[in-house]
Symmetry: C2
Subunit: 135 residues, 2 copies
DNA sequence: TCTAAATTTGTAATCATTACAATTTTATAA
DNA sequence: TTATAAAATTGTAATGATTACAAATTTAGA
């Protein structure tokens, strides 16, 4: 993945901060929160400010190269994979993972009363790691 | 719907506030936010405090007679219908409506790497009312 | 190199939510 | 009925995430 090109072709000037934040998001499939992104990158970019993280994510979202994951009502997570997929969160360990899913299989009665443009699917339960643990 | 009985049978003492809040939630299928619930009920119960609304909703959620709808990352909505259904939000008018859906139709590859206990499906787009409006 | 525009940054403001202690209400037993 | 304890409600203050905003820095172009 050529991050600079990806940003440029989406009308985003590839500043150091933007490249690093996008790269981090893209490589980190656990869908980090703003705090995690900031904490993990401030070592790399010592001048980084949390405002920049917020600004940059907003910019990414406005340009459709990032989306939010609101699987939990008290934390917003971010995702740089724009291909259709769902998310699973283990309620024991808290990890969030991507889930391949066929959204077109979803049928609903009210098909004619609105036009769907985006679908978010959130699954919760227990991951195998946690299920196999003896408590 | 006998609200008092519904609360009682779910181990919740049916105080005036609890009855009114549940009744409001159950009748209001637009999934109000805490602010909306508070504003709409404080006329009825002049002593009502927003803390009580928060406390009561938390109690309902802990006892599985209410769930949260986090279709938007900056507002938490509440829902007293516990039967399986999805939610659609019109991005033009902001209304949220229930959608009948067959969750069991959802197939995913990773079926064996976790155990799903809850599924939330959020649809966004334009409702017919907004689509038919001439701007 | 100079200047203007864009980007980043830090601080202060805002807003939703939670913590907590005081008050009020409810239930129980004398 | 009255007294007492427990439960529920309330108001205020604290917290924490996000946004607003203005100053500082960086970048791009003349």
């Amino acid at each position: 993945m050529d991050f600079i090109n990806h940003l440029t072709s989406n009308n985003i000037k590839p500043s150091l901060q933007r490249i690093k934040i996008f790269e981090y998001l893209y490589d980190n499939r656990e869908h980090p929160t703003v705090d995690t992104i900031y904490s993990d990158l401030v070592g790399d970019i010592p001048t980084l400010s949390k405002t920049t993280v917020y600004n940059t994510l907003k910019l990414f979202i406005d340009n459709n190269i990032t989306s939010t994951v609101t699987i939990e009502d008290n934390e917003v997570r971010y995702d740089a994979i724009m291909e259709e997929h769902a998310h699973f969160k283990c309620e024991k360990c808290g990890n969030v993972q991507d889930v391949e899913i066929d959204v077109s299989a979803l049928k609903f009665k009210e098909k004619n009363s609105f036009k769907v443009e985006k679908t978010n699917i959130y699954l919760k339960g227990k991951c195998n790691k946690c299920l196999n643990k003896i408590n």
